[in-house]
């Protein structure tokens, strides 16, 4: 990709197990609090920890959108209601026109739990799924993007990006292209993934989930903790009058591993390529990055491969950490959630230390920080990688 025009992160919000909205999210990061708890989700019987968002089941969708009702869209609804986000989108639509705002939402499993539940309630004779079960507006990957566009009354191009755990980082790339092409003037980007049995039992079957809260970069790390989250942002073109404190998206870098469906490239070649490509798009040097928010899932192979990739570009001194010890791995929502955490890091001069980790693996050469650091943070690089060997790095920074 050529050098990109920076885009304004005009609004943003995030809801995960560490907070509903940005203020409690920031407070948890400052207080180094984790939202991970022992798994008691639904009827799941797995010895693991999860990052469950409080109050999702109690959410209600607007009456005219009841056909979208499922845990995933309830989580999206809960998140959209925070931080004045819905009002800000409405104001943007009034200013730019609803046709001029696109919707790009990342998800890995959307509302697949509706189908899981429907399979438990099949007709004993015919095997049919319950009549009330709706596929397109709950299970289908597009359902959450469609819900968000209808909820916000936006009429521009809309799409779900579903490339596993890189999904909601890659939405920034798709939105960037469409804004730059002039098809739209702004984009509602984000990610939503909710707890479900497919991912809890699936990662367990691959022996990739830890029984303890995940410990990224720890010498004893042994897997992920699955979390859920919804995070959204409004991306717009920058104008000359943009405030110095504003947060900009400077670069997007994407790549593929060409290696394996569920294991990262051992030397992190794909990850390295994504980070380098993001730096190129932003016209920045590695030394311009103050803090790296790692993908840092806490599996032995991910952290080893990512550490090598980071060190090969940034050397051993750029502070980096994973916030997944706090939030869990929120899968298709991780990119957007960590984009918001990156924005909070810049706005508040905070490099969030990686919690849950007690002894950093001495064989990992990246400069992993466990304690919070208060320092000026001008630019942050955030990594998201997924099954299928899909990688995406984002660079955010202060406008002034």
């Amino acid at each position: 990709m050529k050098v990109m025009q920076p885009l304004l992160l005009a609004e943003f919000t995030a809801t995960s197990c560490i907070g509903t909205g940005v203020a409690p999210t920031l407070a948890s990061l400052v207080g180094q609090r984790s939202g991970l708890t022992r798994c008691d989700f639904e009827t799941v019987k797995i010895d693991t920890h999860i990052g469950e968002v409080a109050g999702v089941d109690a959410q209600r969708l607007p009456a005219q959108l009841q056909i979208f009702d499922c845990r995933n869209n309830r989580l999206a609804e809960l998140a959209l209601r925070q931080d004045g986000f819905l009002d800000a989108v409405e104001a943007a639509a009034a200013r730019l026109g609803p046709r001029r705002i696109g919707v790009f939402i990342g998800t890995s499993t959307a509302g697949i739990m509706q189908t899981e539940l429907a399979y438990r309630a099949r007709d004993p004779v015919s095997g049919a799924l319950p009549a009330a079960f709706e596929y397109g507006t709950t299970h289908n990957s597009f359902s959450v993007a469609d819900y968000v566009r209808r909820r916000c009354r936006l009429e521009g191009p809309a799409v779900a990006v579903s490339s596993a755990c890189a999904s909601s980082a890659k939405v920034f790339g798709a939105a960037r292209r469409m804004i730059q092409a002039g098809l739209i003037d702004a984009a509602l980007v984000g990610g939503t993934d909710s707890l479900c049995l497919t991912t809890l039992y699936g990662f367990h079957s691959l022996q990739l989930s830890s029984s303890a809260p995940c410990r990224p970069f720890d010498v004893a790390r042994d897997g992920i903790s699955i979390g859920e989250a919804a995070a959204f942002a409004l991306l717009e073109r920058t104008s000359e009058k943009v405030d110095g404190d504003s947060i900009l998206l400077h670069g997007v870098g994407e790549s593929s591993d060409a290696y394996h469906m569920s294991a990262p490239h051992p030397e992190g070649l794909g990850a390295k390529r994504a980070m380098q490509s993001a730096l190129n798009a932003a016209s920045l040097e590695p030394g311009d990055i103050d803090y790296i928010n790692l993908h840092g899932t806490g599996t032995p192979s991910n952290d080893r491969s990512e550490s090598q990739a980071v060190t090969s570009i940034f050397g051993p001194t750029t502070p980096c950490s994973s916030t997944k010890g706090a939030t869990g791995h929120t899968l298709g929502a991780a990119g957007a959630l960590e984009a918001v955490i990156s924005a909070l890091a810049i706005r508040n001069g905070l490099m969030p230390g990686g919690i849950q980790t007690t002894r950093i693996d001495p064989t990992l050469t990246a400069h992993y920080i466990k304690e919070n650091r208060r320092a000026a943070v001008r630019r942050v690089l955030s990594n998201s990688f997924g099954f299928g060997g899909t990688n995406c790095s984002l660079i955010f920074g202060r406008a002034g």
């Binding site: 899981e116 292209r177 497919t198 699936g202 079957s205 790549s255 299928g388």
Partner: protein
């Protein structure tokens, strides 16, 4: 900025549609359409161990991606890609949900890895050695135009050639009753920013509120209406005819895509 570029290679697979030359003959009226179950080739481009693990969604996507990139004379390892599908692998989804409904809840790790929506893009990258970026999209019934728009923005904004692959496969019962996609359909195109020796036609895409064009043949119209990737059939018919023209393709409730084509002869 206009979304404008060139089509440099096409791949097609569907019920009674075996490749682009045969599909073009059917769509231009030179051969009759004979509906038959989609024949999915074994992806010989994958290593044998990986080949065994691939389901129908990977087979259809890889087959059309390979046909399009080969006929364009493009090196697939150098092409960024856009994969757009209205659903993941329906058979895997069925197996997993069935397993989760039983007391043991034994999910196969391979099935879980292959349940991701980007499974075809992942195997394409492994098969071709491509480390280029790959965007994987879903817009339910609007998936073809959603993918086309993303691919067109890549060629216009970043001035780079891109492989665009749209594909759908059927869900088995009982999900089939809720999502009645009848069979596998795949359509792929290599899109380039500049005209090349192998360019088939110039293409320009814009949003419109006009209604989508339909197929005159009732069977092909039924296919168009039933499978999101087959929403491309009016465009393929125009390309098969080899004359300049304009078609409107189905997209979202509030908008459609107007596609203008100029053959490179």
């Amino acid at each position: 900025m206009k979304l404008r570029g060139y089509i440099g290679g096409i791949g097609v697979l569907g019920p009674g549609l075996n490749d682009w030359p045969q599909t073009a003959a059917v769509l231009s009226g030179k051969k009759p359409y004979a509906a038959a179950p989609t024949v999915l080739p074994i992806p010989a481009m994958l290593p044998p161990a990986e080949r065994r693990r691939t389901g129908r969604v990977v087979k259809v996507a890889l087959a059309v991606a390979l046909e399009a990139s080969s006929s364009a004379g493009a090196d697939p390892a150098q092409l960024p890609s856009v994969f757009s599908s209205s659903g993941g692998d329906g058979h895997i989804c069925h197996e997993i949900c069935q397993a989760l409904a039983l007391a043991e809840r034994e999910v196969s790790p391979t099935r879980f890895s292959n349940s991701v929506h980007n499974v075809a893009a992942g195997y394409w990258s492994i098969a071709t050695g491509s480390m280029r970026e790959s965007n994987v999209l879903c817009a339910f019934d609007a998936s073809f135009v959603a993918g086309l728009l993303d691919a067109m923005t890549q060629i216009t904004v970043d001035q780079q050639s891109v492989l665009f692959v749209a594909y759908d496969t059927e869900y088995p019962p009982p999900l089939h009753a809720k999502r009645p996609i009848p069979d596998a359909v795949g359509v792929a195109m290599v899109l380039t920013p500049e005209r090349t020796a192998g360019s088939i036609a110039g293409i320009e895409v814009a949003l419109t509120e006009e209604s989508a064009d339909k197929m005159t043949d009732p069977e092909l119209e039924a296919l168009r209406a039933a499978v999101p990737a087959a929403r491309s059939l009016p465009l393929l018919r125009l390309l098969a005819g080899g004359v300049a023209g304009r078609v409107v393709l189905d997209y979202l409730d509030v908008s459609r895509a107007a596609v203008q084509v100029q053959p490179c002869t």
